[in-house]
């Protein structure tokens, strides 16, 4: 009775259906991130192993064994029929069907379900959910009484409901229990993207090819129906793909890859139940509607934040429902063989669909909830972040290796090593480029370090040079002073000798020597003072100063200078001024400088020294020492530069008036060391007025500390 062509066709179809495992494997692993790709692929392979074993052990028996009141089969366990070729072929064909139903789940739960938990899900589905429901619909196909849904007249030709909805509803229950992937619905619009869409697309195409066997083989014979079934299958897939693509254009304005892929699968799923009963135009229509259902289903899931990693539930469960109902809508009533009217058939179809949902979804949802308590279905947060390839299988990819190496560098903060470059790969190119960037950054860092080092070095050198200069000047001044002291000392000694012996020869010459020596000494003292100020060695000795005696003594001291140019000196001390705290030596030196300058640049005039006290702008009482002359005056443009070293109002004045050009510099520096200042007003031809302001509130105990502060002194010499 058995036709060998039928056997051959069934076995070829079985092989085609098994190729769907490859299709699913590519599709699902391409749609996930690289860090989970191997995990998804391995789940696809392992679930087939599990379901094949289980199906042989007892699944097939439950589904196609002699029926127990239409509820489940009770024989044909561990099938080992040696003589019945047809039954063996049928078993093979059904075994790969079961594998298909199970492998749908792996895509939906991808990237987060624990591998071991997934194997149990596969075991549970292939051992209980699938064979029981299968018996209700298909029981009796291989002989014996039909299942209870079949006896009601429920029609599902190749398994829109039996295979695809079952896989879809189990997936739905699973993703509700385990929840969405980390990062899928958090924050930005940017969703998790598949790492290899080319692979996924290839997988979808392989699925399509396999589907020809899935539907075509479901006749279980090579008969006249097969070509139409295959045509309808192709049309369903094609129209499903087109309509979903159109939806994507309408909604996103872009041909989304997932849209066309899921549209094709949805179309294929929907025609699976009815392809033997409908016309080609009807198949096109069924596929078209399925494409829309699939597209909208995915949108709906996103809105409700239900994370189906590959869109398995809309494509398999929703489209499976639609295809099963389409049997009653588009099927040729005379071909149903149930004897029912269209509406009655529709109700039966609806019953089957609802029973499938209730049985599959509720059972598996409860099972997963309980199971999840005992052993978590989901990997830990860290494992999920690391990726299931590594955390579940210790399997890496070049990309993961590269990222791991980069992360290590980031954590340690050490960039002296370079990452491994896998030759002739894209990841290798990235690694190479990363290394080159590191090289460049390192180069830049070295360059900056070098220039910083140089800048520091030259700064140090400058400081050292200034120190050396100051020390040199201090030492040189000291060394110069000793012989100069001897010269002046001996001149005075000779003068004394000559006075004693009443010898007057060379007295003028000796005076000239003495005068020049004194000038040189003043110059050296000035240079020494300035170098001490510059090198921070000038000290301040604060004492209480009696103003009137100081001024009187000064007047006495400068009297000879006044007489030189026939000048008159007037001294005014404001009433109430008695004493104040400052550095007496420095004050004296400053006033001497100012008075000597005034005497030098004034002829036949009057020089006035007046002392007054006045609150300055910050409320501190200050003493003002003003030295006013009726001399040649200072041009405006020179009034600041005269305070610089070796500067006089005019270089010719040096020749005419002598002087070291250091006096005002030192005076201002001293005044500033004492928290005061020296200012000048002048009118050319009429005279000048120098005012030294010194605060009266200095604390004598501050003396030592104040000596340490660098005076506000311009860099000179």
């Amino acid at each position: 009775m058995t036709n060998s062509l039928d056997i051959a066709w069934m076995l070829v179809a079985a092989a085609l259906v098994m190729s769907m495992q490859v299709g699913f494997c590519f599709l699902e692993s391409g749609l996930v991130r690289a860090k989970n790709s191997i995990n998804v692929a391995i789940k696809n392979m392992a679930d087939f192993c599990v379901s094949a074993v289980v199906y042989w052990l007892f699944g097939f028996g439950i589904m196609f064994g002699a029926s127990y009141y239409g509820w489940f089969g009770i024989d044909r366990f561990l099938l080992n029929e040696t003589g019945d070729y047809w039954l063996t072929s049928f078993f093979v064909f059904q075994m790969v069907f079961c594998g298909t139903a199970i492998t749908i789940i792996s895509g939906a739960v991808a990237e987060r379900m624990r591998f071991s938990a997934y194997l149990l899900v596969a075991l549970f589905t292939s051992g209980i959910i699938y064979p029981f429901f299968g018996h209700w619909v298909w029981g009796g196909v291989a002989g014996g009484n039909p299942g209870w849904l079949a006896s009601h007249g429920f029609l599902d030709f190749a398994g829109s409901t039996v295979v695809h909805s079952v896989g879809g509803w189990v997936s739905f229950a699973a993703i509700l229990v385990i929840g969405p992937r980390i990062g899928q619905f958090e924050g930005s619009d940017r969703k998790i993207q598949g790492h290899n869409l080319t692979l996924a697309t290839g997988g979808a195409l392989i699925l399509w090819v396999g589907w020809l066997g899935f539907n075509g083989g479901s006749t279980l014979a090579l008969n006249a129906d097969v070509p139409r079934i295959i045509l309808n299958t192709l049309l369903g897939g094609a129209f499903g793909g087109c309509s979903a693509l159109l939806m994507a254009y309408l909604v996103f304005n872009v041909a989304r890859i997932w849209a066309i892929m899921n549209g094709i699968i949805g179309g294929l799923v929907s025609v699976t139940a009815c392809c033997n009963l409908i016309s080609a135009p009807a198949a096109a229509l069924v596929g078209t509607v399925a494409g829309v259902i699939c597209f909208c289903g995915i949108q709906l899931f996103e809105r409700y934040k239900i994370d189906d990693a590959v869109g398995a539930v809309p494509a398999h469960a929703f489209c499976g429902v639609w295809g099963t109902l389409a049997v009653a809508i588009f099927g040729r009533a005379e071909a149903w063989g149930t004897g029912l009217g269209r509406s009655a058939q529709f109700l039966i179809q609806l019953e089957g669909v609802v029973v499938c949902f209730l049985w599959t979804f509720i059972t598996s949802y409860l099972f997963f909830r309980i199971f999840n308590r005992i052993m978590p279905l989901r990997v830990t947060k860290q494992e999920e972040i690391d990726g299931l390839n590594v955390s579940e299988h210790g399997a890496t990819t070049e990309l993961i290796d590269l990222i791991t190496e980069m992360e290590d560098q980031e954590l340690v903060g050490s960039f002296d090593k370079r990452v491994h470059v896998e030759p002739h790969t894209e990841v290798g190119q990235i690694a190479g480029e990363y290394n080159r960037v590191l090289d460049r950054v390192e180069e830049e860092f070295l360059r900056r370090e070098e220039s910083t080092r140089r800048a520091k070095q030259s700064e140090l050198e400058a400081i050292r040079a200034n120190e050396v200069k100051s020390n040199f000047l201090a030492n040189m001044s000291h060394e110069l002073r000793t012989p100069l002291g001897i010269i002046t000392g001996y001149v005075e000694l000779i003068q004394e000798d000559m006075n004693e012996s009443e010898l007057q020869t060379h007295m003028d010459d000796l005076n000239t020597i003495a005068h020049s020596s004194r000038h040189l000494l003043n110059l050296i003292n000035g240079v020494l003072d300035i170098s001490k100020i510059e090198s921070g060695q000038m000290e301040v000795h604060l004492v209480s100063i009696e103003v009137q005696p100081l001024v009187d003594e000064l007047a006495q001291t400068v009297q000879p200078l006044m007489l030189e140019n026939n000048n008159k000196l007037q001294v005014f001390v404001e009433e109430g001024i008695e004493n104040f705290v400052s550095d007496e030596t420095k004050l004296e030196q400053c006033l001497l400088n100012l008075l000597a300058n005034a005497a030098k640049f004034t002829h036949n005039g009057t020089i006035t020294l007046s002392v007054s006290a006045l609150a300055w702008n910050n409320g501190i009482v200050c003493y003002y020492f003003e030295v006013k002359d009726t001399g040649i005056g200072i041009p405006e443009e020179m009034r600041e530069s005269i305070f610089q070293t070796f500067t006089q109002a005019d270089s010719s004045t040096t020749r005419e008036y002598g002087g070291t050009g250091l006096g005002l510099t030192i005076t201002r520096s001293f005044a500033r060391m004492l928290n005061g200042d020296v200012t000048v007003t002048s009118e050319v031809g009429k005279g000048s007025s120098f005012t030294m302001r010194l605060p009266a509130n200095l604390d004598p105990t501050e003396g030592a500390a104040r000596a340490l502060t660098t005076p506000p002194f311009p860099t000179i010499l």
Binding site: A474, R481, T482, I486, G489, Y490, E496, L528, Q537, H541
Partner: protein, 123 residues
């Protein structure tokens, strides 16, 4: 006779000679020492009335000499006038801390030196 004796401890021969001759002219008896060790020795043995001490001596420097002199019983009361280069920071404090009674800086203002000698010996 009531001639007072001054001890000059100074390593620079020209300077030492100049001071010696000018002080002799003022009626002082002068003993000279070229370094600290011999200066201390002389001060201890001879009865001197005042010591002019150069702070910048070879070997044992002026500060050590002053301290030593002020620590010995029979020299402690002899007044010391420090002669310093007036070049380095803190010189003044250090000389006074070391026990010197007065302080003149180089080059020596001779009138001032005489004044100080007179003051110290009058005490």
């Amino acid at each position: 006779m009531n001639t007072k004796t001054a001890l000059i401890i100074e390593d620079n021969a020209a300077l030492r000679e100049m001071i010696r001759r000018r002080l002799i002219r003022r009626g002082l008896a002068i003993i000279c020492a070229v370094d600290g060790e011999s200066g201390i020795e002389i001060a201890r043995k001879e009865g001197v009335d005042i010591i002019l001490l150069d702070m910048n001596l070879p070997g044992k420097n002026g500060w050590d000499v002053a301290q030593k002199l002020k620590s010995m019983e029979n020299t402690a009361i002899i007044p010391i006038i420090a002669i310093t280069a007036h070049a380095m920071r803190g010189d003044r404090e250090r000389t006074l801390q070391a026990g010197c009674d007065e302080y003149v800086s180089k080059p020596i203002d001779f009138d001032m030196l005489l004044e100080k000698i007179a003051e110290l010996m009058a005490l």
